[in-house]
Point group: C3
Chain length 334, copies 3
């Protein structure tokens, strides 16, 4: 049996991504149905979730199926992930047994896992989610890892298509924002990859030292080339947003200081000006404003931007639901 | 769009309350249906819940819909509630964003929030629940705040009507009971307000220093005047219960010592006699005995009262379910 | 009203157990249905659960009903279990009130409760689960106590029947395995009792000092006599497995050291050889290999055994679902 996982937005080619967005748009117009009646989605959370958990629950309900959330601290035993381990430590269960067992009960498994890591190399390996995908006999969905958050990116691309209609050749700026806490890179990577695949001209605007993962950027360039888009990097916020039709704000942590958040914190002190305010938004090509939420208001972006007429942040949130339905039908339906 | 919230029992006029009770009584006789098919109720718990959570889950299932519980410590980011805040503190999300996001996923939101407060003025403001109601575009239901527990009161009034049939002019005594822990005032306020609205003669029997909130008592007097009922206060338990057709026991904390539970504890030492036992119940007009549960047995009331033939405590609990269904249909149905 | 609880596998006679297994086998072949539409199962977890929680949720969904999980630390107040207690301590609710209240909302209650105990006598009394069963007016299902795990045993017997077809006169060895942590005895007791009831010849293979509960062993002998099976004990692993058609590995704690896990730990140091490896499995009568999971790989059993062709551990896990459905229909259906 050839099961389809959804660990990365790269699992979808440009054509497939566009088809999925079409499906999501149709599902948004449609009312509740029964296409996944009798099917169950299991969600495993190792981290907090609001949008992801609620949107997938409601998505399964609207498709006639069921969703069950499991929480690491309550439902899941300490998991061993290493192959052939002699399990005399604290781990009571091996991920292969958990994955194979759950595969007997549910029709797909979504996993959010963002563990502390001592290096970016370790974090980007997405060890646990990859192990689940290897051992589970049902599709595994990435609900956010250190490397990617592909479900968010589908919702975002759906939102962009609703506003711009034809997205090819339009300019999207992914603008780094100041946040007192180190934020994960997954959303930014998935947005970059999916925008490039749809043929947008992507500008990454971030301070020096806050480069995205080089392999992801390289993959995005390749996809952009194929789709007629482009990827460029600028280290100045004002310059970065000037030509934008889409201004996507998001903070992310520095790969350089991945194991040293104190150091990142010191470096960031001089970067509080990386904030989207009304003046900056006015300098764009009447861009729609996007952010995946949660957002620190008046830190990453000001209230007038977040609540202004160009903001589509709640449409992004709602589209998590419709993107989720399309993805579930893509993986499980028909 | 003019959405209806249900934050206080005062949201319902006397006529509306009576209609809702009629609907609840009909729904109790009826089996499961599909009137809320495709609808989702989201519940947000900042505090423990047994009756509220289970009864609303089952209520939605019996109406053909779905219910999803969210827990503050697991699902919800630290929330900022102040307008225009510059969010550099620990709060990662503003309540306006959480409320607007959830409004895109669910059809109604129930919230239980009873945070520690430094004063009664702060507690009675119900800041978080009011903020959710302001920002959410779907109905918000109060599942208990420091000030009110209106869903409990509807269930209680349904229970009284089942036993007394015609409630006008009957006597309800709300009797303060000793409990080693400070208990919230919400149930007592909502019971007082709803009983007054239905035309019952309400006696508040409590020790000096355990007065209910003056604005709530005043509002209850106004409602009583309109409905032909009355509200009086006595500071003696035996006198308070003598004419009761309904004896409702409940402990509540002192507003005077709201920020000083140690002090309340000392004052309460002399009040252990505020307990309903069989002798006291026998001195009433064959009253039905009520308590919202959970109850400290043989402290607030004795086993023979709780388990005796006049006790309707489990009917109250069951009626949470039917009252919940009626409320949901009132807010969402048809 | 004569409600049926399911606290012990002994609640089922041999004939009833066989009928239930027939029903489970039929339900495994069948797709989702609606036989429990409008019914709700409530699950109370005082301990972690993966297989039990997920399988019962999916079971109810496949039967057209609903399942709601409650967690002791979140949903349930501190419970008083003693009759006629004067509740001035930390317990805010009596189990009789919780049980009677929940009985008004749900159609059956499953409970997992394995509290720390100071003696085996205390643990085997299953006080809380028995109290729930006494006070609830709906069927109560044991989801694992210190004494039994009957739902696991039904799934296991279903698995054995799938592989051996005719189980009478076949040999099942229940082999103690080394595990660094003390493990509960419930699974072993329920497997022993059910295998004996089905007429299997059961060999208990364990080190001296790791005897199962004498009353349970005695009850198993009685059931074996009635069904044509047998029960014997050997204290040597190699000898114990030699004639096995079914090799069931499971660690369990010592009754002797129930209140002294440190002591058990010292004693166990010399017992690390109680492990099922490929060589040992090869010495059986081509036995199927069973374990209820979670399992410490390469400690209780080696990878080659767990992943080999004789292993049926995931079938056991899957059969929790079908056994659960059969049990629910048995208790609630028709």
């Amino acid at each position: 049996m050839n099961k389809r996982d959804f660990l990365s937005i790269q699992a979808l080619g440009s054509r497939e991504l566009a088809d999925l967005l079409d499906l999501a748009a149709r599902m948004k117009r449609r009312g509740p149905g029964q296409v996944l009646a009798g099917k169950t989605l299991g969600l495993l959370f190792f981290e907090r979730s609001l949008r992801t958990r609620v949107s997938f629950h409601v998505a399964m309900e609207q498709l006639g199926g069921h969703c069950l959330s499991l929480f690491a601290d309550r439902d899941i035993y300490d998991l061993e992930a290493q192959d052939r381990a002699v399990m005399v430590g604290s781990a009571e269960e091996h991920v292969q047994d958990a994955a194979r067992t759950l595969s007997r009960y549910v029709d797909a498994l979504g996993i959010r896992h963002l563990p502390p890591a001592t290096s970016w190399a370790e974090a980007r390996a997405e060890a646990l989610v990859r192990a689940y995908a290897e051992y589970a006999s049902v599709p595994v969905i990435n609900l956010e890892t250190a490397l990617e958050h592909p479900c968010q990116a589908i919702a975002d691309m759906l939102t962009i298509r609703e506003r711009l209609i034809d997205v090819r050749g339009r300019n999207l700026t992914l603008a780094w924002g100041y946040d007192p806490e180190p934020k994960s890179l997954g959303v930014s990577h998935s947005v970059l990859l999916s925008a490039a695949a749809l043929g947008l001209n992507v500008t990454l605007a971030h301070p020096l030292g806050f480069e995205l993962d080089p392999q992801i950027v390289e993959a995005a360039r390749t996809r952009a080339t194929e789709s007629g888009g482009s990827v460029r990097v600028v280290n100045d916020l004002a310059e970065g947003v000037r030509e934008a039709h889409v201004l996507y704000a998001r903070s992310w942590r520095s790969l350089k200081f991945y194991a040293d958040p104190e150091r990142e914190s010191i470096v960031k002190r001089s970067l509080e000006g990386w904030r989207i305010d009304g003046e900056l938004l006015a300098s764009t090509k009447n861009a729609i404003f996007m952010h995946p939420l949660p957002v620190r208001r008046n830190v990453v972006a000001t209230d007038d931007v977040l609540d202004g007429p160009q903001s589509v942040i709640y449409d992004q949130a709602e589209n998590r639901l419709h993107a989720g339905k399309a993805l579930l039908v893509h993986l499980l339906g028909g």
